[in-house]
Structure formats: C-alpha cells, structure tokens
Symmetry: C2
Subunit: 352 residues, 2 copies
C-alpha cells in the first residue's frame, strides 16, 4: 500500500453522514458489505503487522467514550466511539462514531469520516466474515435476537457473504421486530417474526444475538442451543454486560478478535482468564481450523476491534476518488514556510 | 459548566484553519492569549476533577502520532497530534493537530477544531501563565532560543500576560531569527538579534528554549544561566530529546504539568525518577509556593498536557456563538427512530 499525499495536503476529505449513505447506496448495500468484508479479511491476514494499542476508555455513570487507534506502519487510523445505552430513551443513538486515517510518514490526516453507519456496516461484515469460516455448511437460516439499530445490517451481510435468506426475528419489543421486518422487505428474505427467543432459534443454523440494554443479561440459555449451531454474539461488549449463559460458552469452540480485549469486554469475561480461545485471524490466515465438523458448536464472541475500523476507513478511502461523496475540509495549517505559522496568522488579516 | 446540546444534535460545529485565524484576529492575538490563559488557569485550579488518562502514542521511524484525551466529568475532549521533526524539510509542519469536545452525558461530539494554530497558542499561553507564578518580579526581558514556528506565539503571550517587551532572539539558522523579528515588528517589542545562545541569555530575566530538532541536544549549559532566572523549556518533549544540561536542572526548582508524563518526555527524563518536582496546578491553586525569592532559579519543564488542549477547545467553543467562524458538519447519524439506522440509510435513496 503506497501513500500518495494529495497536492493540497492541508485539505482533508470528509465523508458526512449524508455522503456515507449516498456512497453506500451508489455501491449497493450487499456489494458494499461484501467488498468491505474483503478489506477486513485482507487486514486479518496481515494481523501481525498491526500496532494493536488497546482502546482508551473514559467511563462515566451514563456510558463510555473510547478512542481506538491502530496502524499498519504506513497508515494510522483511529475511531472515536461512544456507548450510551440510555441514549435511545431520549431519541439518540446508543453508539456514534467518527474515524480518521493519517499518513504514518508525516502524521498528516488523509481522511475524516462519520462512523455511526460505517460501524454498523463493519460490525456486520466482520460477523459474516467470521461465519464464512465458522458456520455449518449450507447454513441459510439465521435467528436474530435483538432487532435494534444493527439487526438489518447483520441480515444483509449474512445474505451477501453466506446467502442466508431465512430470518427468524425476535426482540423483547415487538415494535423493533416490526421495524426490522419492514426494513428488510423486498431484500429477498423469508422472514419469520417470533414471539420468544426460544421460538426464534428453532431451526436456525446461525444465531445472532445483538441486544444492547444491560438489564437483560441472559438472552440465550444452554438448552436453547442445539449442536452444530454457529453463534454470532454481537451485543454486550462491555464489562458486566453479556448475553449468553456460561454453559453455552463452556461447550462451544470460541473464536475472538483480540483476546486481551475480548476477555474484558466479551462473553468470555464470564470464564476463567485462561479458557482456550482461537484468534479469528489465525483461522482466516489458514493457520488454524475454523469449523471442523457438523456437530461442533462455534461461537464468535465479537466485540469489535480497531483493525476492523481501519479496514472500513481504508475501504471508504479507496471508493472516494471520482465520486462526489465527500467534502474538502480545511483542517491543517499550511504556511508557505513551515516555520512561519505566526506569519500566516498575521497575514490572514489582509484577506479576512 | 452546563451542557446544552444543540437542537440539531447531528450537526457538529467545525473550526477550520481559516476560521481559526479569523477568530483569533477578530478577538486580537493578545486578548486571545490572555483569555485563553484564563481558561487554562481555571482548569488548573480544578485539576483534581479531570480524568487524566495518559496520552496514547504510536511511534514510527519518522515520528509519533498521539491521542490525548481528558474529561472533567461533563465534557470530554481529545486532541490528535503528530510530531515529525523531519517534516519541515519537505515543507510540512512538524506538529499538526485536530481536537474534539463531546458531551459526557450522551457521548455526542459538540466541537471539532483545527489545533495546529490553537496548539501553538495554548502552549504559549501555558508558558506565560506558568511564568506569571514563577518569573522574577518585574521581568521584562526574554531570550528566545529557537525562532521557529512557535517563537512569536511565546513572545506575544509573555507580552500579554507579563508585559515582557524586550526580546533577545537566537536560532542556529539566522533566517529563522529574521522571520521571527520581522513577524514581531510593530507589536511593541524592543528586539535584539543575537549571534549565539550565550549572547541571547545576557541580561534576560526569562529564557525560553523552543527548539525542535533532535540533533542539538544541549541548548543551554550551566554557566549560561545566572541566578534568579526563570527558564521556560518548551522544546524537546519526547524520550531522548532534551534541551538543557542536567546541571541546570539540578540547581533549579522544577515545575511540571503532570509528573508521570513529564518524567518520560520532559527535561527531567535526565534526572532520577524521584527527583523532586512541583506540580504547576498546586502553585496556581495556591497550595504551594511558586517563586520564593529573587535568587531562585525556576524552570517550567513544559511538555503540554491534555487539560490545556481541553481548556483551549473550551475557550474556542465559548467564543463561537454569534460569530461566522465555523462550519456545520453533518457528522452524526440521526434517524427519527434511533433504532432505525438502516431505515434511514434505505430512505436516503429517495432523496439522493
């Protein structure tokens, strides 16, 4: 990957929410998810290259604000992201995000992008990518427990990457299921609305749990999960918040992004610190096996990792040239003489 | 400090480089520096309130990229900043910065701003603020060793806060001194261009060292610094990079921003880990003495801390209402139903 700084290095391309939506729609949601999964897969294959700084969290009573940096040695990226479960009660998003890429060689930013929509897309693409290696052969039926903001993205990614076409939806709030089913109309799914989590998992080859609120701590109990199932555990993801009963974890082969982070934030926070887990990148790179047999219960304990955001930003950057889906932000001071920052400031008077 | 989320919470005010310059000039550089120092002083007084996360650095052969977060419990802020000493050789800034403030209660950003110019201003304001408590009584003559991008900002801040009107400039490159002197013409200074660091410090009450390049490691030696002087050591600021001979440090009373960071990055990295230092906030809050007598040598070992960026962003935010010096960025997804992110995306098709 070679970095070509733009001629106007003080100008940083910015992808607004509106432009992100237009970019996604111009590419097509399924194509976008599939191409994005390709970028994520490529970066998982070169996992060892990445500077995997732990995320930096600032906790408050209401939620958490995090910075997630990483670098492949040529490009540096970070995401600002918040998690505020109570936000939906006041009409706000639980999670919002903003991301940036920079050139490692000179530290100059090269992309700023909204990442609220992009995070939902990269989370779904990562889930489907993991399932490509872990779900049972021919899996085409998925239960989605939790039908909030991320549910449809999960459905679309699994359709795009695995050809999952049968969905079994359940949410504690039937209005959420209605919203999800309505949004997925005309996308080629056979959709069943279920009245309980137990009903939703019946006949499903893949179970996706994507709930948000801390108070419903056990979405799946052991008796609900048959053998051979792949579980895609997306929700939870902070200390004290889990979705699965520990008995399910104990009889599953568990795949994770980055163990030091997942042991704190993921479902496996319920297990001993040395419980064996497999790093997803080792499966994707072909070093270790994913699913070995039809009877195996596999679990992707997804928490979201900085490299996935990096891949997503890198994908967006690759799609911008030749489009109109970005603005030019005058973000970096660029005096004619780099030592003359003050002179640039004073001379601004003349043009002000 | 009460947080009032804007009505259009998806829109984040953005201060571009051009708008920052216009804002500074509309306020006046000296007034700006004095008001900014007031915000920094106010935050130093409530130092213990702040979440003082260490900065997160990503090092490469060419430089460093850092994220500097902090929070006062109501507002969260962070700065993205790079440090690439070789950048000037290709016409780029050594340091560029971008900052953001968010609402802790819901995690939503409330300000995005350029911070290349703002960092130079906040560094100078902090230096002058420290000198207000540490410089000898009546100090009006300052040596500035290193006449690069930050030198004039330092001069203006010391004029604004301490009424320093006599400057003694020295840089290893006479062209830098010429640039600095030219930029400060008409600002009410009596300026002497000096041909050596030794000449520059003669008669100065305050010595500001603000050099950038790693290879000139000892700007000041012990015999150059008379008693009663205040040293404002601004340059250096990374492991392996210092400006002062350790003998100067050993006979100075040393004041620092945040010891865990300064012991790694500052001049005091040359001293033992338990060498006594005084935290500047304890002086500003009145808990400990600053300068005690006329013969004392004081040293502000400035490295720049996240709270100062926070104060600077908070100051900028306070000055924006009623001005035209910001743009409105469509940065946060804001669906009518917070759970309907996908529906918002699909419906964007209709308006695209």
């Amino acid at each position: 990957m070679t970095v070509h700084p733009p001629k106007n290095i003080n100008i940083v391309p910015f992808v607004s929410v509106d432009n992100m939506m237009k970019l996604v729609l111009s590419i097509g949601i399924e194509t976008f998810l599939s191409e994005l999964a390709g970028f994520i897969e490529e970066d998982f294959r070169r996992w060892e290259l990445f500077d995997k700084t732990p995320r930096v969290a600032s906790h408050s009573a209401e939620g958490v604000i995090e910075l997630m940096p990483t670098s492949d040695g040529e490009i540096y990226g970070f995401k600002y992201v918040n998690g505020h479960p109570k936000n939906t009660r006041t009409g706000l998003q639980t999670v919002t995000g903003i991301g940036m890429l920079s050139n490692v060689e000179n530290g100059y930013p090269v992309l700023l992008s909204e990442m609220t929509i992009l995070t939902a897309l990269r989370t779904a693409a990562t889930s489907a990518l993991a399932a490509k290696y872990l779900a049972p052969e021919g899996a085409d039926c998925m239960a989605i427990i939790g039908n909030g903001a991320q549910a449809e993205f999960q459905a679309m990614a699994f359709k795009s990457l695995l050809n999952v076409t049968r969905l079994r939806l359940y949410d504690i709030d039937p209005a959420a299921t209605d919203k999800c089913a309505r949004n997925l109309e005309g996308q080629g799914f056979d959709i069943s609305r279920c009245t309980s989590a137990e009903a939703a998992v019946e006949g499903a080859h893949i179970i996706t749990t994507v709930t948000a609120d801390k108070q419903y701590a056990t979405i799946l109990t052991d008796n609900m999960v048959g053998s051979g199932i792949h579980i895609n555990a997306v929700g939870g993801d902070c200390p004290g918040k889990t979705e699965l009963h520990p008995d399910i974890l104990l009889r599953s082969d568990i795949f994770v992004e980055y163990p030091p982070q997942t042991r704190i934030e993921g479902e496996i926070q319920q297990l001993s610190k040395d419980h064996p887990v497999t790093e997803l990148w080792r499966v994707i790179s072909g070093e270790l096996a994913g699913r070995r047999d039809a009877g195996q219960t596999t679990l992707f304990d997804s928490v979201g990792f900085a490299t996935e955001d990096f891949s997503a930003l890198r994908y967006i950057r690759s799609k911008l040239p030749g489009t109109v889906y970005f603005d030019q932000l005058d973000m970096l001071a660029d005096p004619d003489d780099p030592r003359d920052l003050f002179g640039m400031l004073r001379r601004a008077k003349d043009v002000a």
